[in-house]
Symmetry: C2
DNA sequence: GCAATAGATGCGGGAAGCCGCAATTTGACG
DNA sequence: CGTCAAATTGCGGCTTCCCGCATCTATTGC
């Protein structure tokens, strides 16, 4: 068995290396990559089916890398190992995992044992192992009350990119009013209204920007999600 | 000499511990704290003048902790040790460092030697050691062209919190028009105009939200800066 | 003291956002 | 096929935002 570790922090990298050695004695080769781009390359060259992947790396982030790796070989086992359980990450990961793939999401704050157990479960038993905390959020975000439709999430990203209603309607092929409807739903779910007992809207907040603020604070959006969206936007702007 | 390490990642904590042991043999006690709150408490109890501080911790972030520590004992030597050189962090740190204090800002990506050298320079020689990369940004942000006035930064934070122009004018005791003037300057510096050769404004972007987007992408703002600002805002809203 | 420059304020108008109301389309289910 | 709910669209209004233009104030330098 060969394992690839994709992680930019050298300290964490060597810690993972050690953990793999101990948890998987049957593993004869461990390779390391310090960013997503190198990780992809290694995976392609060595046809490795076992990868540990950090999210949030400088050159190319983990979600991007995992997506292209899974596109080429959907049966690859990937363990995501991250500091954060931001909804933006969790949503990003669930969006790209192929049907039936064995994968995992473990937080860096987890114990040694938990990590090793996850390694064996995913790589040997082909199980899925999702950290309790992460799982909790997944559930919440599927729940219709507090969770967001794809449509709502999409429009959230679009306003977070700074697009006007009109631009969004062009981009998504919707009427202006529909975009605004979705925005209203979004505002409702994010509770950006803060009306008092009287029913007049709170004039202190600009709904559009306030929605972005609370999305960021609640980690529905984060820096790498924005970066990715910005890139896609730039592409769309080019092709007009 | 006593040294306190404030860092939430156990791996990094023990790495720092080792580095201190090697670089500062004259140090008889090394204490560890996993967040800013505990760090403050330790510093107060032990009257320690030598602290290594991570920014971005969950319970209480490094900038907050450093501020209260320096408020109590301005002669404390603090080495900030961070993954990022976000302008938001750099600006936050420079805002709180007392006159003449010995401090440092070293990135986690720096080499072993660089870290140890910094430790000796700051703790023994009372020098300031700022990472090259961080220093570069400091310069840029002082430069009048691309840099931001405090006034501009303030209004940036305010719109990023989702406030309306009117609310900002109330909060900062300015006329509505003045707030809008500052916004215009901000938009100019962030280059959110993107007018073509013709002079008509780009109708694809909502300037206000676009400004937030590029500020986030350029790391003028980040999550912890937002959190702090949000807290201050809540306080102000209470006191009306 | 005076000119010069930057910053603050007021006014007004065009554009964009927010949203209630109502009509239409779509899709799922029996 | 009929029905019902959800999503989409259009219209009209009111508010907020964006900004040019003009005035006023404050600080700096000579």
């Amino acid at each position: 068995m060969k394992v690839i570790i994709v992680e930019d922090d050298p300290l964490h990298r060597s810690y993972l290396h050690e953990a793999v050695r101990e948890a998987l004695p049957e593993c004869e080769t461990v390779m390391e990559a310090e960013n997503g781009a190198v990780g992809e390359k290694l995976a392609r060259e060595h046809r490795t089916a076992h990868i540990i992947m950090d999210l949030q790396m400088s050159a190319r982030n983990g979600i991007e890398a995992a997506r292209t790796i899974w596109k080429e070989r959907p049966e690859t086992h990937i363990l995501f190992w991250s500091n954060y359980s931001d909804e933006a990450y969790v949503r990003g990961v669930s969006r790209i995992v192929p049907d039936g793939a064995a994968y995992g999401y473990v937080l860096k704050s987890a114990s040694d044992d938990r990590l090793k157990l996850a390694l064996r479960s995913i790589f040997i038993e082909s199980q899925c192992v999702i950290d309790r905390e992460v799982r909790g959020m997944q559930q919440r975000s599927l729940n219709r009350n507090s969770g967001f439709t794809d449509a709502e999430y999409e429009v959230l990203v679009d306003i977070a990119l700074g697009l006007t209603d009109r631009a969004i309607s062009k981009r998504r092929n919707l009427s202006l009013r529909t975009v605004q409807n979705r925005l209203q739903q979004l505002y409702e779910k994010l509770e950006v209204h803060m009306v008092g007992p009287d029913d007049k809207p709170d004039s202190r907040f600009n709904l559009r920007t306030r929605a972005i603020t609370v999305a960021l604070l609640r980690k529905l959006l984060n820096h790498s999600a924005l970066e990715k969206a910005e890139e896609e936007l730039a592409q769309w702007l080019d092709s007009h």
